[in-house]
Symmetry: C2
Subunit: 219 residues, 2 copies
């Protein structure tokens, strides 16, 4: 068995490993989890002892098969609970993260399987992130950041890269949510800001920073 803290480390290493090809460094983990590097080193030794990560002194770490499976299980729980909170309990999508961070550590296979059935076996969470199935498999979304799309592209929003409250809230306000379809009307060549048309005649101004944190797929 693993503690909540250890589960959070695994989730963190999983996340960093998908971003950088070179596994996760001690410092990167420390920054992400807001802990000291020394603390991370201590924990890495414990996780290595449990065969959950591959660890060599002074090198970046990676998840073992066992660790990867556990990380995906936590992510599955987290995303299913987010669906529950938004669909069933009517939370707004920017209110679910902290609660889901707690709920993801509840340990009961039956709970998660029954919750999954109740929710109708959903494939994506409210932020557009894919939900791993019970074997750890999930849909490959092949999304690109909006900032990489071109003028005239017909797009559909699939998710976000930035999960902060303020960002999600901002998207709420401008009505740009996952699954929303829109077209790029203009891109300002000076600062890469863009104008998008969500519905006929409803255009919206998007800064390049915002665009780089919105995921879309081409239609």
């Amino acid at each position: 068995m693993s503690t909540q803290t250890q589960e959070n480390y695994l989730k963190c290493i999983y996340k960093l490993s998908t971003q950088n090809i070179e596994g996760a460094s001690t410092n990167a983990i420390a920054k992400e989890l807001q802990a000291r590097a020394a603390t991370v080193t201590d924990m890495l030794k414990k996780l290595a002892e449990k065969k959950l990560i591959n660890y060599t002194k002074y090198k970046s770490v990676s998840l073992t098969v066992k660790g990867n499976k556990l990380a995906l299980e936590i992510i599955r729980r987290h995303r299913l609970w987010e669906v529950f909170l938004v669909n069933t309990l009517h939370f707004k999508w920017d209110e679910v993260h902290e609660v889901a961070e707690q709920l993801e550590h509840i340990n009961s296979e039956k709970l998660i399987e029954n919750l999954n059935n109740f929710l109708g076996n959903p494939k994506f969470d409210p932020h557009g992130d894919p939900i791993p199935d019970k074997h750890g498999k999930m849909i490959d979304t092949r999304s690109i950041p909006l900032s990489e799309a071109k003028i005239g592209d017909k797009l559909q929003m699939t998710g976000v890269l930035e999960h902060s409250n303020s960002f999600l809230n901002y998207l709420n306000e401008i009505n740009l949510l996952p699954n929303q379809k829109f077209t790029i009307k203009k891109i300002n060549p000076f600062d890469q800001s863009m104008q998008i048309e969500i519905l006929k005649g409803n255009t919206q101004f998007i800064s390049s920073l915002t665009a780089s944190n919105i995921l879309v797929k081409c239609l």
Copy 2:
């Protein structure tokens, strides 16, 4: 803020205080939580420091107003989650306890209020125990153990005193569940065992130990 462990101690002290008038003794708490008396003493000091219990060396402890409020909050969460597990996720009533023990520590007022609304503001959990409202108030059930009822009494089951899996499962098997109405046909004067009639012609034999763990109200 209180830790999960501390919340479990409060719940335990609450439970023991409703059973014995004289508060909860160190040994009784130790037995209930399966810990050593020395461990309990250590924890009692910490809870007293937080003004959650009234503690004097070598005396039984009781909850302060603040501690009582917190205990009722945990009990509210626990029982609401039990309703959710049985009504929404189709758990059997003897499968919910361990999971609810974990869920009760999730800390989010919005979560509990929205869950309560979703469930339709239920007044009793699946075992017949009353659910405190957000101010800690709950319905007074005025139940008595079946063992204190008399021949000929028309009764309705309201709950149980013993929550072990094996006991709940046994009740399942003999089809004696909360809200079930029945009549006492016979009481054996030698061992206090009884025969009850659930439906016309459907009589059931109940040992005095079982009877003392079933709560009923007279109709």
